[in-house]
Symmetry: C2
Subunit: 496 residues, 2 copies
């Protein structure tokens, strides 16, 4: 395929060269490879997914079907290559999704909150997706959260703040990328709802916009550039948690399969697919929502694996995380050496569905007058908790959280502890998932991300580059090298 | 070198074939390899060491020398190959060191507490060290905890209970292995102190016994079989925590270097070196003791790396963990996205040294009459905590723990919570390390082990077998295959 000089392209659009490609920043960590350049590249990102999240899904998958101890491996955890990846950002050992996305998409460390700009917010970075686009690949971006969220944005936008979601969305419409699918937009008309609707801007840029299951399924390669927003959006314009998804709702796997159908072409494609709500469930310390979204991501990966079976020598599939969320562990002090993962399977909806559903309605109906006895049957049914078998301390914790949810203050439970106890979530809901998780033997240490390294699984053309222990910026470097997008000493893209 | 038929050997000593080598249990996961059989094999086991422990040591090593964000990699974390290893045992997702040691040493899953026997406690398993010994390798076993502890015992003993420490020690004296070094014996004369001293038994079996630094340093290959017990033993006949080690005390690296000197011979050697107190520090939620013992293990690995540089094509070095301990995370709710690893460097001694030193003396001198104000200066000096800057809740937690340490009971702090709060440790000590760790941004979820997979790093001849994601029993299988100890369909050891 025809390649264009990258330096010229970058200068033309006013971009700095990626850090790793500037003089003196030779990507020495990338070993020489004779692997042919993969034509089809999938990058799956489990937001907030590290080894514990993957292994928890494997334990869960085994535990719900059998009393036998063992794991049922996911599809992607059976990939032939697995490496460990550090995720720290420029100013902290704990990254956010903006700096982690920037690292993987552009090879540069920056500060949390910043997308594809340096910590001083002056230089802009080219992304792997832009470089691939310039080299002739078609580009797809899929996410279960809103398409203007930090992780998907890291592949097409450059903004000083991830909160500039309208700016991000506008850059989406200007990206020229071929396929966007999944969640919607957090600020489609800007923060003050006074800007041009990004859907209109996308249409003006030539995108076919769909947001129904039927229109989505009717999409064909002749549809041209596509922006597909899910019909059902749950929280913050994101697709529903997998455990809340109705049979008629499209899944992350549906968006991935459609992407393959639309992007498949002789010059190849690069598709990034994010399982974004693994992270959100981690923040809320909700193991069941976390695990089921890891499994949803694995189902999406299965679509790529099916495609790869038809193009075995030309396809690379990577599955990684951008950071760990929650300090999740397969072990809790109260259960010592035992785990009971089948217990979380009793939870019937995500923390979000419970907060937005029952809790919202109950609070509206019982302003300051709620009775804890009222809610116990609902709690028992929704979370599979049995009050008769709980310790008095657990019951006290739950009742205090209920009072706090209803707006009351608690004696001996000062407000200085509110964040440690509830992390800003609905107090009753978060306490219920925490205690259910503890019964299962699952512990959490934080409502934020952690610095625990993530795992990168690889299968296909070039997989051998992704073993070992390396940094998230190396994912960019390895991909650029492998896809022959590497800028050499003459700063031009090496010809194929 | 001459190889003997394994089946004959095993039958002769009354052993069952390892599970993985029985008919129908082909170790299919082990890919074919053309790598020459390594002559020198090192297996380093960080007890309780998973990715978080390794990365924490790397963050700490960087943080104490620089304000810059980044990691200072350990020697072994720079090894070219890294894989992930599941650790579950036959009856639980969370293993202990006996079943994990059995898995790595014999390729068999068993129950926690059992060493080299099946869950029914009837069949015995041959170990990789015994198989290597039979094939002509010299064998060394080093541990920073007592030599009769579960991990070292897994390479030479077969007992229904790891608590049978005298039986284990007797089996050590009968093993014929060439070098034992590190900690001492927990029950040298049996539980009731009425049995023959194992040191005498070892001498009768031809071992040269040393337990002084001078005698240790004088050991030469002509010393024959060696049993070297550290002059200074801290808790449970273990070597001191690295942070409590006096300049004159021998280190894990010293025991490793001496082992290399004594074992080096034309037919090769197999040496297992355990950093056993990483685990003990994890149980006690003491990050500084944990990190410094990971660094001590890395220093021991450096001795193997130095040896390997002289025998690059004949040496394999593996560094793994037997399980994770503590649910350690690089992130705590109270510090959100920040970490402050330099804070733990202010801790001047291990939890154990504080409990055995100051606390023991203070409790003896102030039976029920202690004053919290008395101990605050000691706490501040020992753990680098500043009471003036702590939250009222933290101060309350510490004062309650102090009262509990002094034998009092706490209103609003019922005994049902004692284990959750203190895990059976001295209440004040464990609360101090927990709060110091929280200030550093380090969280813990349990006082026990967890099911979080561990990392296996590999360097040298056959390293390529140790990438990917596999089970701890596969470590045995891969080693047996690589060292040509594998039993083929005819159940004999394949000739070299």
């Amino acid at each position: 395929m025809k390649r264009v000089p990258l330096r010229s392209l970058l200068i033309a659009v006013g971009l700095a060269l990626p850090f790793s490609l500037q003089a003196g920043n030779t990507p020495a960590a990338v070993p020489a490879t004779k692997t042919p350049s993969p034509k089809y590249v999938f990058l799956f990102i489990g937001d907030g997914m590290s080894m514990t999240q993957v292994n928890s899904a494997e334990i869960y998958a085994k535990a719900i079907g059998s009393k036998e101890v063992g794991i049922k491996k996911l599809g992607f955890s059976q990939f032939p290559v697995a490496g460990m990846t550090t995720t720290y950002e420029a100013g902290s050992f704990i990254t956010d999704s903006a700096s982690a996305g920037t690292a993987m998409a552009s090879g540069n460390k920056t500060l949390s909150g910043i997308i594809n700009m340096d910590p001083g917010k002056t230089r802009k970075f080219a992304t792997i997706a832009e470089q691939a686009k310039a080299a002739g690949y078609k580009i797809g971006i899929v996410s279960s959260v809103s398409l203007d969220h930090a992780t998907p944005a890291s592949f097409y936008a450059k903004v000083p703040s991830r909160g500039d979601m309208y700016d991000i969305a506008v850059q989406l419409t200007q990206s020229g990328f071929d396929y966007f699918g999944g969640g919607g937009f957090a600020q489609p008309k800007g923060k003050n709802k006074d800007k041009a609707d990004v859907i209109d801007l996308a249409r003006q840029s030539g995108y076919t916009y769909v947001n129904s299951r039927e229109a989505f399924q009717a999409l064909k390669p002749i549809s041209g550039k596509v922006l597909a927003v899910n019909a059902t959006l749950q929280d913050a314009s994101a697709m529903p948690y997998e455990m809340d998804r109705k049979p008629d709702d499209l899944s992350l796997a549906d968006y991935t399969r459609k992407g393959i159908e639309l992007l498949d072409n002789k010059k190849g494609f690069f598709m990034m697919v994010e399982g974004g709500k693994i992270d959100w469930a981690g923040h809320a310390n909700d193991a069941m929502a976390n695990i089921s979204d890891v499994i949803a991501l694995d189902n999406a990966v299965a679509e790529a694996v099916a495609f790869q079976s038809r193009h075995p020598n030309e396809t690379l599939i990577l599955v990684t995380g951008d950071h760990e969320t929650g300090g999740m562990s397969i072990g809790f002090a109260g259960t010592k050496y035992a785990t009971f993962y089948d217990k979380v399977s009793k939870q019937t909806m995500s923390f979000q569905a419970f907060t937005d559903g029952f809790m919202k309605q109950y609070k509206a109906e019982h302003k300051g007058t709620g009775s804890f006895a009222d809610v116990i049957p609902v709690i028992e049914k929704t979370f599979g908790l049995d009050f008769a078998k709980m310790s008095s301390d657990e019951k006290t914790q739950i009742e205090r959280a209920f009072v706090r949810s209803m707006g009351g203050e608690i004696e001996k439970n000062p407000l200085e502890n509110d964040y440690l106890l509830y992390g800003g979530y609905d107090p009753l809901t978060v306490k219920l998932t925490q205690i259910l998780n503890q019964h299962a033997g699952i512990g959490w240490t934080t409502y934020s991300h952690t610095g625990v390294p993530v795992v990168t699984f690889a299968k296909g053309a070039g997989q051998e580059l992704f073993g070992g222990y390396y940094d998230n910026t190396d994912i960019y470097r390895k991909l650029v090298r492998l896809m022959k997008l590497r800028v050499n000493a003459n700063s031009t893209v090496a010809a194929n």
